[in-house]
Symmetry: none
Subunit: 199 residues, 4 copies
């Protein structure tokens, strides 16, 4: 049995070793990069034995993939909820961008990791295999083009622009290069994205 039962504070601790490993790996990956993080470091920070990682995951690669899917799913849910509450395409687009900022603020480590994987790791050649969050952008854009609310540009290209703009805005704010307050940052980016597509 786990020692956590005696810890009233266990809500602040990883409930299981598996979670501890995930938490440790995620933060290390996000801050140092994936290649630069060793399984030893992960085990040490997780407070467990190195070999234990292999009980829970097939290997380092599988751990990376798991974390990616987990975080992509979380981001997807945030965005899916956001997009549901909006009616017209322009509002939906704004909601998506705001959703990304919300996720980045809420799960800074997960966001950094997602960003890391999506730029460092292999690109997916087929849009049908894009990660779910990007699919939401793509679908929303398509809707706007069909309804005639958006100016005519290549949908895949526009998706790329907007995702890139949003990601970069978060990074620039995080590194302190952009000195704007967070709300102004979000507002300006939402406005810019909408301006870009509004007919």
């Amino acid at each position: 049995m786990s020692v956590t039962a005696f810890h009233p504070d266990n809500r602040f601790m990883a409930e299981t070793k598996r979670e501890a490993i995930c938490d440790a790996a995620l933060s290390l990956f996000a801050s140092q990069g994936i290649d630069a993080t060793s399984t030893r470091q992960i085990a040490k920070r997780a407070g467990t034995a190195e070999g234990n990682i292999y009980r829970h995951f097939r290997g380092k690669d599988a751990l990376v993939r798991h974390l990616f899917e987990e975080n992509a799913m979380a981001l997807h849910q945030t965005l899916a909820e956001a997009v549901d509450e909006a009616d017209d395409p322009l509002e939906r687009l704004g909601a998506l961008v705001r959703g990304v900022f919300a996720f980045a603020a809420d799960q800074p480590v997960g966001f950094a990791f997602l960003f890391m994987v999506s730029t460092t790791g292999a690109f997916h050649d087929d849009p049908a295999e894009w990660p779910l969050p990007m699919m939401l952008f793509a679908q929303t854009l398509k809707g706007g083009f069909r309804s005639g609310d958006f100016r005519p540009v290549d949908p895949a290209l526009a998706t790329g622009w907007i995702v890139a703009m949003t990601q970069r805005a978060v990074i620039l704010h995080r590194t302190g290069i952009v000195r704007l307050g967070y709300d102004a940052l979000v507002d300006q980016t939402v406005e810019a994205v909408q301006h870009l597509l509004r007919r």
Copy 2:
């Protein structure tokens, strides 16, 4: 005397081992990533001994930095020439974006490598230390804000947006996700960037 004299094709070959090392390293870095490329691979592709890399560069890190500076400088020159031929801020901005596309078409490997370093590697926190090519964007934008040609947005943020949009457009085209012809890709991106800032 060198064997190159007998090779009419020597303009396609590395003149010196140093260049062979640089060429090999650049293409491997660009295609596989920097961490995933070993000095062995570099030496093998360069057709030289591994130890020889260390006669020409202090180490792998120094090789990376050299390649970065070399390619950043080349991009900077392409952009500097492009920006010189334009008069008003909007045209200058368009010329810069076209310059990036031109560089990416002309030096695809160098561009891929620069992109790799700028996203993988450490970000520079201080805009004063940004790589030269980004400085050109920043200066052009500032000019447009001062003259009143551009809509008022945070300059650092706008620089980030535009660089990100341009980079992403190249990548999406290269991976085949965007099926547009290259000229259309360039035109649409230039138009979008100008639209984003035009008052």
Copy 3:
């Protein structure tokens, strides 16, 4: 459970890989010198993988330091016991010299290694940082000077003389240059050292 249980000879074998590494390294260092011994050789003789050395020690340097401290401590204990049994300074001095010979006979490899480090490696500039065994010589000599049993000479210099004489005697005997029997060697050296300081 460990394989050693089935080995009645296990008292002659290293109980753990860590000890096997120490034993292998010590004997190789003592016979070939430290620089001339590679981690590969150590691993091979220890019957383990090279990387395993680095699980137990930070690196080759740390292994050397560990062995030095271990052996210096063993010598120190041998000498401390020897010196305790003697009353006046002259006898104490003799006991120390005999102690060194006893250690050299008992732990020939350890002694050779200590000798190697103390002459090859960096000298400690500050007597307060001398290795423990030398401290015993220094203290004994100081006692003799204070009590007036010893002729007046510089204490640090005299310590150096005596330690050097003793070390050299062991080496000369070991290499066969001095053909004396071991007991005669010890007796002559003890007598010489006492003669050197006796008032």
Copy 4:
């Protein structure tokens, strides 16, 4: 022809590249140790190309041996002259010890190198193959034993003691552990050595 002809100061410079290589190697060996000194370092300090070392010496080993023989010969000559001016064995012994100190003061680098080789490098098992300087000590001691001036101890052992004492005295003074002035250091050591053997 050499550039030195135009240098009025060439008496301060190595006359030939060969000498430059020897000088550079000797000082590097003496300060860092032989293994820790690379041919590159030697070439750089000598102001010549690395490959040039191999025009003048068969390899690094040959260079080491050459330097050893050169310096051992120089020490031998210093000692031979010193020993010639003394009549009885005790004086000869004192002259030898003083000679070692004189050599160490005059050629500190050469002395440090000799010391390094004699402790680090291989020991000569056969007294007949001892380096020449040690032979002088051995012969002088034998003379003293034969004439009855010296107390009866094993000649090879006594030689070892005295050489060790002398070397150690120089080292201790050089490292600052012994704070005596140089003259006092020499006098005390000479006196001690003579006291050790005087009947």
